[in-house]
């Protein structure tokens, strides 16, 4: 090697990386040299690692060559080079071929190497082994596991853990030795001055051993229980990670079988006062994540207390972890953590913004109507100091409060207006405030006028077109029905004078809607004058819109009985967007023939304003509820992760969308069936109702479709058997009351052949009389089974099969099926105004919580819970549920007030229903449960 290449080596310390081919060549040259220079080789390997860490990769052939030249260095007995060699082998083994070749060199080191390199050798060994060769390492790993040296033992355990997916049986053979590691506390031998640092055993091998044991005994519940028992006694576990692992193990057991909580209660409360914070935290996490009814209130309180103590430690991570758990609890059971409020309040100004944001959102959740005002005050003080990301999170939390405490709208509104007008802030931030205000206007009618007025002020100097346009739209929608519409007209017209064409056109549309105000002819006149003036605008879009609006107003005046023009100006209906999208997609993707017929918009369901609000409110409520129940703390992460903020309120979750789409899909399938053509459009479709256990041989779910004069029961049947096909599958539905005259079976459409693991649909149609029919159906599945040839998956020839029947659960047509949830702003006024009333009393003996009853009532009646009554307080024995809905047949309104009291004897319900329709009212009130 000449002097100048040598020079280049010396420069490497500068940190500039040579290109990868140079390193590759240098490595090959240097490693094949004899004798090798250990120092230079180590530098070269480290440079190679640096390249790999930068994301460079080598093609397989080059990597293999590298691997082999690196393994040449095994001839060099230098420990410090050897350690680096192992690192290179670990890195290269995943990208090279034939890594098995290094096995024997590595094994030699494991047997005879020094203590320094033994662990490295053991850990590299797993990389070069595969399924077929893993067994050969058994003896080596076994003796390493029992080694007196903690690092060697740990390395062997971790390596065994890595090997599990390919060689579980091998690892199982030294399970006893693994178990011994836990009780055998190993310390480092006295160092002979080879290193300047004094190793200090943390007994971490216990952690690795427990992790490995848990995996090995994975499926054996009794063995796992025994592990817990064995390791939790005395002071056996010194390592805190090992203790955490044990808590996790208990958690895993409890999540499978929550009944065992009582058995572990003492252990858990012990862990809550462990000397390790990580163990405390894990125990608290576990206790608070278990289903409510299994955990005793004392234990839960103890967990909260532990978390509370963790909130005020100086270590950031601990505070973060604790406040994160509290935040999660606050979504399901805010009342249980109210005790932590003082600590949480002091965290609002924490230097770590993630912690302060969690603290605030938690506080907002634990807020009761009493302390909201003061809380809002605290937030107002510091909201200007934090970044936009966090502001948005806070605004979102406030927004959920608007729905939760409609009666507190005033302070909430003041706060929103305040931040809207004062602060600077980007589009996202302002948009989230405006969204929150929109919610208020929609769902809290009392706040409407104040909110609208303030929005008017805001648009005077708003720099974001998108927001301006949305506000103008809202003003147009809500303004005409307020007490003093002319106020808004002035503001809107100002925009026409001052803003760009996009906003001008939006303003024109908003203005035109004011022309529909009934009792103020002067206002209508002045709108016409304004529009006429606008029709001379420089921008053609604005002119066009103004001219069209004028025409429409004209036609309303001349022919007031025609509602077409009115409908165009102020839509009363909006389409179900999800359904519209899927229909349009279908239309577009079909072949060209379909274009000959125009798209039939009538097939898309339409919603009135009230229905739309009901749907939206329902989605919000479900979101409020769904966020905490989803097992991953996804919602919590969202609230901190600013990047995802946009998505935190966008529309329904996937699953809900799925449900909506299912209904559309069912409707399409039914529409395509010849026999059902005469039935007219579907009026209502229920959700899927499971009629069998999900593990049964045949899994059946039922769906009820209501038509004007017919009922169609749809059975989705899945054959879960692997080797039996079913022929002529039909469902026989017998009404519970025999010879009922109101229902008459029309047709059954059976499934001709149902192959294994297939799902098909069987329909049964009934003709029904005009009114609301309530009926239960006893269902039995009739079919002919045919064994399948396992090779061909065809039925055996000549096998005639045999007839069989299979009983499935009954399906009930209830009053709820005739009702759709609806929204009403002022429930009590509406309730008083309805003419027919009906009262019923129920006594429920089952031992269930009020929340369960509430959930059941909401499902049974298919009404929409209002005024935030869908959450029963868990600390009280009484609750009042308010439900509202409309009949799908006649549109008759129905309002229900259900009062419930829980006592030791069970739950007593008193339901009072009011409706436009006496029969409906009676039906629903008498069939609540």
């Amino acid at each position: 090697m000449s002097t100048h290449t040598y020079k280049k080596f010396e420069e490497t310390e500068s940190g500039v990386l040579p290109d990868k081919m140079t390193v590759y060549q240098d490595c090959l040259n240097e490693f094949n040299e004899s004798p090798v220079n250990p120092r230079r080789c180590r530098t070269l390997i480290s440079r190679l690692l640096q390249l790999l860490a930068q994301g460079e990769t080598f093609p397989k052939s080059e990597a293999t060559t590298l691997f082999f030249s690196v393994s040449k260095l095994f001839q060099q007995p230098n420990d410090s080079l050897r350690q680096m060699v192992y690192l290179a082998i670990k890195e290269l083994s995943s990208i090279s071929d034939d890594v098995l070749m290094a096995t024997s060199s590595i094994m030699k080191d494991i047997q005879n190497g020094s203590d320094v390199i033994k662990p490295n050798a053991i850990r590299s060994l797993t990389r070069v082994l595969d399924e077929s060769t893993a067994f050969s390492a058994e003896r080596l790993l076994k003796s390493a596991v029992v080694s007196k040296h903690p690092s060697i033992s740990s390395a062997a355990l971790v390596s065994s853990y890595h090997l599990l997916p390919v060689a579980e049986s091998t690892v199982k053979r030294y399970m006893n030795e693994t178990q011994e590691v836990v009780s055998d506390l190993k310390t480092y031998p006295y160092t002979n001055g080879s290193s300047e640092f004094y190793p200090n055993s943390t007994y971490i091998a216990q952690y690795h051993a427990i992790g490995l044991l848990c995996m090995l005994k994975n499926h054996d519940k009794v063995a796992l229980m025994k592990l817990v028992q064995q390791f939790s006694t005395g002071n056996l576990l010194k390592n805190q990670l090992a203790q955490v692992e044990l808590v996790k193990l208990v958690g895993e057991l409890l999540h499978k079988d929550p009944q065992m909580v009582t058995q572990f209660a003492a252990l858990l409360s012990n862990w809550l006062s462990s000397k390790f914070e990580s163990v405390q935290l894990q125990a608290a996490k576990l206790i608070t994540s278990l289903p409510d009814r299994y955990v005793s209130p004392e234990l839960f309180a103890a967990a909260v207390q532990t978390l509370q103590a963790l909130l005020s430690v100086p270590r950031v991570t601990t505070r973060f972890a604790a406040v994160r758990v509290l935040n999660r609890i606050s979504m399901t059971a805010p009342e249980k953590i109210v005790v932590c409020n003082p600590e949480l309040e002091s965290l609002i100004n924490d230097s770590n913004r993630n912690i302060s944001t969690y603290a605030i959102t938690t506080l907002l959740k634990t807020g009761t109507s009493n302390n909201i005002a003061s809380l809002i005050k605290t937030i107002t003080k510091f909201i200007h100091e934090i970044s936009d990301d966090f502001k948005i999170i806070i605004i979102d939390a406030v927004r959920t409060m608007c729905l939760k405490f409609p009666e507190e709208w005033k302070s909430l509104l003041d706060f929103l207006i305040n931040v809207l007008k004062q602060g600077e802030g980007g589009f996202q931030f302002k948009n989230s405030i405006v969204e929150a205000l929109f919610d208020l206007v929609q769902f809290v009618p009392q706040s409407k006028e104040v909110a609208l007025e303030n929005l008017c002020d805001f648009i005077e100097d708003c720099e974001f077109n998108e927001i301006l346009v949305r506000i103008l739209h809202l003003l147009g929608k809500e303004g005409p029905t307020t007490k003093n519409p002319s106020l808004y007209v002035r503001h809107i017209y100002n925009r026409v004078v001052l803003e760009n064409s996009i906003i001008r056109s939006a303003a024109v549309v908003a203005l035109s809607k004011f022309a529909l105000v009934k009792n103020d002819p002067t206002l209508v006149e002045s709108i016409e004058i304004l529009l006429r003036r606008i029709s001379n605008d420089v921008d053609d879009e604005v002119r066009d819109r103004a001219t069209i609006a004028l025409q429409l107003i004209e036609s309303i005046k001349s022919e007031p009985q025609l509602y077409v023009a009115q409908d165009i100006l102020q839509c009363k209906y909006s389409y179900d967007l999800g359904a519209l999208e899927s229909k349009l997609n279908q239309y577009m993707s079909a072949n060209e023939d379909t274009y000959k017929t125009p798209f039939d918009v009538a097939s898309v369901p339409k919603y009135t304003e009230d229905e739309r609000k009901a749907i939206e409110l329902k989605k919000r409520q479900e979101q409020l509820f769904a966020a905490p129940t989803s097992k991953r703390s996804g919602a919590a992460s969202q609230s901190v992760d600013a990047e995802k903020n946009n998505s935190s309120y966008v529309g329904p979750t996937l699953q809900e969308q799925g449900e909506d789409l299912m209904i559309t899909k069912y409707a399409d399938e039914i529409a395509s069936i010849e026999e059902f053509k005469g039935f007219g459009p579907i009026i209502n479709t229920s959700k899927d109702i499971p009629l069998t256990e999900t593990e049964a041989e045949f899994v059946v779910t039922g769906v009820k479709h209501l038509f004007k004069n017919h009922v169609v029961l749809q059975f989705n049947i899945t054959d879960t058997l692997t080797d039996v096909a079913l022929d002529n599958v039909s469902v026989v539905c017998t009404p519970e009351i025999e010879n009922s005259t109101e229902l008459e079976e029309v047709v059954t459409i059976p499934i001709e052949r149902l192959m294994p693991s297939e799902t098909s649909v069987c329909y049964v149609a009934f003709k029904k009389s005009e009114g609301n029919i309530m009926e239960g159906f006893l269902n039995t599945l009739y079919f002919t089974t045919r064994e399948l040839d396992p090779n061909t998956h065809e039925a055996f020839e000549g096998d005639e099969g045999f007839q069989d029947e299979y009983e499935i659960d009954s399906i009930f047509l209830t009053a709820g099926d005739y009702i759709k949830g609806a929204f009403v702003g002022n429930f009590s006024a509406c309730f008083d105004e309805l003419p027919h009333s009906e009262v019923a009393v129920y006594n429920i003996k089952e031992n269930i919580s009020l929340q369960d009853i509430v959930d059941r009532l909401v499902v049974n009646t298919s009404c929409l819970p209002l005024e935030n009554t869908q959450f029963a307080p868990s600390d009280s024995n009484t609750h009042t549920l308010k439900l509202f809905g409309k009949s799908v047949m006649s549109g008759a309104r129905i309002a229900l007030v259900v009062r419930m009291i829980k006592s030791s004897k069970g739950i007593a319900l008193k339901a009072e229903g009011r409706s436009d329709d006496a029969q409906l009212c009676g039906d629903i009130v008498n069939e609540l449960m």
Binding site: G15, S151, V158, H162, Y207, Q240, E252, E643
Partner: protein, 195 residues
């Protein structure tokens, strides 16, 4: 049984003050069950270098000068520590016990401080890259926390071999002869090249 898994660390990153890589290691179990394989493929920072780079840049932008020691970022729990011109990150699963990860993180951080006696900065890390790589390898083995005591980790990291290459001239007859032979061939080489 995923909650019990020992694979708790997903990556260790050392970035410089512009978010560029100094040391990065994303961990995957060396032998995968099909289930794990799938979850890695779905994981946005699973295998593709480009995605990893993007992830690092986003993370860096989010944490730079923020004084955030711990945060949740794109469904990962992240611990970080900023030095003058480097940032150390530890990426873990979002469901992992924060304090366990903190243990692993401090282990790496403190052992690096022990090894790089003159302080953690970019130049120092690059100069002692071999030791840094060894220290991190001794703390975390493909996602499993291997050791949490900084002194133990530091003591397991060997120093580079001493500077002067071993002068190994055997003063036997054969040694002298071979030395002479070597010198002769080198000389001939130079002469042929015309120096």
């Amino acid at each position: 049984m995923s909650a019990l898994s020992l694979y708790s660390v997903q990556a260790v990153l050392l970035l410089d003050n512009e978010g560029k890589r100094i040391y990065t290691k994303y961990y995957h179990p060396p032998h995968l069950t099909s289930e794990q394989q799938l979850s890695i493929e779905q994981n946005p920072i699973g295998t593709s270098t480009k995605q990893q780079n993007d992830f690092e840049l986003r993370l860096f932008k989010k944490t730079h000068k923020q004084n955030a020691d711990i945060l949740i970022f794109e469904d990962h729990l992240i611990l970080c520590k900023e030095y003058v011109d480097t940032v150390l990150y530890l990426v873990g699963s979002i469901d992992e016990n924060e304090l366990v990860l903190q243990q692993a993180f401090s282990a790496i951080k403190d052992s690096l401080e022990l090894i790089l006696a003159t302080g953690i900065d970019k130049k120092n890390i690059l100069e002692h890259y071999d030791m840094v790589a060894l220290a991190i390898d001794e703390s975390i083995d493909d996602g499993i926390i291997l050791e949490t005591d900084p002194a133990t980790i530091a003591s397991r990291v060997t120093k580079p071999p001493s500077k002067d290459a071993q002068i190994n001239i055997e003063l036997s007859e054969k040694g002298l002869l071979s030395a002479w032979g070597f010198a002769k061939s080198k000389l001939a080489e130079r002469l042929q090249q015309g120096i």
